[in-house]
Symmetry: C2
Subunit: 336 residues, 2 copies
């Protein structure tokens, strides 16, 4: 028998706020890579809000997980066995793997990691799926123009923090919503946001926006939904663009949440509201990665990762996303 492999399994669909009951750590045999595959020793794994959607049986934007499936997500690690010409033992790679000590990747879906550009966790954040989501969601969907006021919810998260910095690079005034003073200070003092609103200590979001976005809102990049979004929608300028990237405030809702109707106000503003999934831009991932690596290497785009230690804490790291525990990208260190 090969060596063992600890893996997290999805064992129960949550109702409302997920709990540890949905997860079970099992010891299995370490997998054997087949032709074209890599066995990777996982260094870091990614937990992301979109995974809550995969836990639902019904429709979501991500394929639902079956109860009993191993949990899947972005990983960074080191190739320990290669059945592909593309990578050798010892190479550092990233791809879509499993919440486990060892994970098999299809070599064609794996990408090389360059630790001289950034530390490994960044390849799950600004240089990974969240960074690409920010890049295409802002530039392709929201189409910011110089001088635009861009508002970002979830601004201290992996996506939001990248969105705000790309918007600033494009000559926009940038306003972020985040949930702690540590986060808002990071946004304004390190990332170049023009203003940041602590939604946890602010009562009247609309009044806060009157101050932070006195000229109204031209672009809204929404990761959150709920009352923040309700307030931003009352401030949309003519021809405003709204990119709906995430709605974490509603991921744990059972049934359809209600709130202020937004369509009536769209007529006066002629605003455009559009959802996005980063997978639609797969043919352009290479160009996005190149641009993001350039920005990160030069320091034009800064990034942070919140590292939770140990595979055994991966479910806690995931649950922490809904409490806003993370500053920047939330990752789990599986091995060093």
């Amino acid at each position: 028998m090969r060596d063992s492999n600890r893996e997290w399994y999805f064992v129960e669909r949550p109702e409302g706020e997920p709990t540890l009951d949905s997860f079970e750590l099992r010891e299995r045999e370490r997998p054997t890579p087949r032709f074209g595959e890599l066995l990777v020793r996982v260094r870091y794994l990614s937990v992301d809000p979109y995974m809550r959607g995969r836990m639902r049986a019904g429709e979501s934007y991500a394929e639902p997980w079956a109860v009993g499936d191993v949990l899947r997500g972005g990983i960074v690690g080191e190739v320990v066995e290669s059945e592909s010409d593309r990578f050798e033992t010892g190479d550092l790679v990233t791809g879509h793997g499993t919440w486990s000590e060892y994970s098999v990747l299809d070599a064609d879906d794996a990408a090389p990691v360059d630790p001289s550009v950034a530390d490994l966790p960044a390849y799950l954040g600004v240089l990974g799926m969240p960074g690409r989501t920010a890049y295409f969601g802002l530039l392709d969907v929201a189409e910011p123009r110089p001088g635009d006021t861009v508002v970002v919810s979830g601004a201290a998260g992996a996506v939001g923090s990248t969105v705000g910095q790309i918007a600033a690079l494009n000559g926009c005034r940038v306003v972020g919503f985040a949930g702690t003073d540590e986060k808002t200070t990071w946004l304004t003092d390190s990332l170049g946001f023009d203003a940041a609103i602590n939604y946890a200590t602010t009562d009247d979001y609309r009044a806060a926006l009157d101050d932070a976005a006195p000229g109204g809102v031209d672009v809204y990049f929404d990761n959150v939904g709920g009352p923040i979004t309700d307030a931003v929608f009352t401030k949309l300028n003519v021809d405003a663009r709204v990119a709906v990237c995430g709605q974490i405030a509603h991921y744990n809702d059972e049934g359809v949440p209600t709130g202020p109707r937004k369509l009536p106000a769209l007529i006066a503003s002629r605003a455009r509201v559009q959802g996005l999934l980063v997978g639609d831009y797969a043919t352009r991932f290479g160009a996005a990665r190149e641009q993001l690596e350039t920005w990160v290497a030069s320091g034009a785009v800064d990034h942070r990762e919140t590292v939770v230690e140990g595979l055994e804490n991966a479910p806690d790291a995931f649950l922490g996303l809904f409490a806003g525990d993370n500053v920047g990208k939330q990752v789990v260190r599986v091995s060093e």
Copy 2:
């Protein structure tokens, strides 16, 4: 003193559903056209849902009317005095005038009417602002593709009935919502809609759409809002486009109406939702009019007008819009 002129004045802002209390008919002196102006004997005047927005003091997509203003809207009539080279006494013209027996138009803003193409009331409907709204809202905002399923709310109104026919001309499957069997029959039997749903006699709009739009909804042209819109949003296909033209179900709401949140579902569909105002397309009105006249003259686009007799009944005609009294365009005959 010149001859008299009966004119309707806006005398009280309504709260909720408007009543006759907002309107007062006054006898005034017939106006004298100045240089560049026309005095027009009004034959027909237009009442439109958007006018409810002008009755609000607050923000709307139309400039609010001041209490004490004469009521304004589209008219068709005959030039009885001309202070412009562009038109002569006896010419038939259309433009933005007043709810009155005689109205002054700026000759530069007036357009000729050709009774050989269609009867005069059509110039307030399919060949007027509603027709242009349908044309630009569907073709520019909703961007239908052959084979798309296009759903229209308020489908038997002036805008909706034109939208559905243009969509059918573009090779789309067309489904309309309307409020009487007379209207739904008109849509399917005369206008070429593939299906029509009587919302007044249907309990479950979602189930009705499962039948009428089994492949889901690619384009939604919304004139109404409310529960119809809520149901259509649950059926949006990937890359669906929603043109928000009107929200008559909410025009009489005081405060912000609430309903199911729509942003969470936009992520999976990547649907695009956009408001529209026809005035944004003013530079292309000539081309739209030419196309619409061609379609109407050839019978490719059919139209109906509901004619309310007598200037004294203009407020009733307006209030009837909220009861769905009209089939096609609601107009008032002021003189023959």
